[in-house]
Amino acid sequence: MAIEKKIDKNNELLDSSETEINQAVLESQTENKKNEVEHNYQHGYEILHDLAQKAFTLSTSEETSTIKPEINNLEKEAKELSTETKEKIEQESSESAIEHLPNYNPESAEAKLVELFPASEKIQKRFNEKISPEMKEAIAIVCGQVFNKGKYPYTLIGSNCYIPHTEHSEKIPDDLDVIFGIKDLGIDLKDIVEEKNPDGEKNISRVTKYTDGAYAELVKLQEQGIIKDLGVEELRKFGHEKNGCVKIRCLIKTANEWKEMEAFAQNMNDEVINQGKNKNGIINLGVEKQRLEVIDANGVKVNIGSEKTAEELYLKNTINEFGLYNLNGWENKGAVSAKALQRIFNIINLDSQRFEDSIDQMIENIGQIDPPTEESKIAQKTLKNLWDQFKTLPTEGPGLVKHLMEVNQIEIDTDNPRERKILSTEKAVDIITTETKKDMADIFDRYQELEKKYQEYLNDPEKSPEKNQATIEIIDQEIQTLLSIGSKYKKYLNNTNSADKNDFCVYAAMPQLRNQFILPVITRLANNRKNLEKI
């Protein structure tokens, strides 16, 4: 055991006592320093908050807007600095140091874009407590027997990565998502052939040849009965042209059930550079800060995305999904991801976010995604308009989240008000996501059906006033149905309380759905009706 004499700056002995240098000292010093960082950050924030309040009461919103972006950027920088510092301190306290994966050159430019560090005690504890035993078993199987054998880093994303980075959430991950480098796949893309399914019209993919790699390891597991239903699929951009990436899907056997896995073999640095795009890192996480944490799952070392990585991924998902949260999006993509609302909630529920007041920050962060895209501009503008609109709503009333909880007779069992607020919002977001998803699908299906009928009637050589009237009546009926769906959401809107900022996560869907989805369908149907009247 090493003994350290206590010495002061002048290298003089302070007292006769001696301090043992052991892991406990390291752990307590880590905690102290992390707390000091947090305290320092919070203290600075509070002082500046008071100063900012004073500044804003003296000025108009137009005047305020001249300094707000700069202040917000600096605050973001301060917050990131404090989070990163705490992570770095935590990293120093870890019992084991991360040895870089031996299979790639850590000095290469693309490897330097990926940072691997041991998960903190907090993250490991949450992973142990919140991820089900079956899920841990499934993760340990595929990571230990497939992805840890790869030459390049991989990472778990999705809910298994999100849950450890949140204090309160009742989500229980039921599937697992992995991202890994396509060079570790072991299949040449030309060896994936698409064939017609014998009992249907749907195409199925078949691998005709493969070499060592993730796919070969999965085939071995399937032969041993550890996984089943192994399948691959080349991914396509918006369902159109292939994008060079591959999705592997399978079910993993655990003690009590089969767990679904989706693993995405993504383009790596070389592939992206060859396409004339920016740097990409060693794996394509789609984020700038490729920070991965190593956790322990049943004794197997597993990489999960860090909080920063999770935040950036959710921001990009919000852009892709909310930017297309309208009728055009549905028509171009074949569907709208109602999950856009859940992404917004997930972002503001991450550890380093201030749940009640981080919407502004989220909207601003969308604007800082580099390079900006058409979708990111639309998503930012749409969310900003909705947020500005939300702030003009009454600050009284039951609140949308509370209303949805009451109507659905859901109670959150906790005495902690903050936890209750977060869990209620999470539930309300899930309720409205399911409801809007179903409404959008039903509306679109019925609209397509009516459009078909309308076209059929136009092409009908034997038109008659009766047939014409019948078509008009079906359209009228659908317009009435759409109006009643619209008014159902209007009733929800009347319950919004803008003093409850968490209401925004639910609110955001409704004006968008009413004005950008239902209204355009009504307008198109009304136009068809008008044309029929002229015949």
Binding site: M1, A2, E4, I21, N22, Q23, V25, L26, Q29, T30, K33, E36, V37, N40, Y41, G44, L48, L51, A52, K54, A55, L58, S59, E63, T66, I67, E70, I71, L74, E75, E77, A78, L81, S82, T85, K88, I89, E92, S93, E95, S96, A97, I98, E99, L101, V294, K301
Partner: protein, 64 residues
């Protein structure tokens, strides 16, 4: 990525690293906070001067 117990020498070096990380943080955060404070203080000064000018103007027009 094998786990290995840290030796006392390694722990000592980690403690020094933590201190260095913390000192570096303090320097950087102070820099950011100073920038924020300067922007807000200058803005407040500007707004107060503007208010003062407005008051002066209104007094002048009142007593002309």
């Amino acid at each position: 990525m094998a786990a290995a117990k840290l030796t006392p020498a390694e722990i000592k070096s980690r403690l020094e690293n933590i201190d260095a990380i913390y000192q570096n943080y303090i320097k950087k955060i102070e820099n950011i906070r100073n920038k924020e404070r300067d922007i807000l203080s200058n803005f407040i000064k500007k707004m107060e001067n503007k208010k003062l000018t407005e008051i002066r103007r209104s007094i002048q027009s009142e007593y002309k």
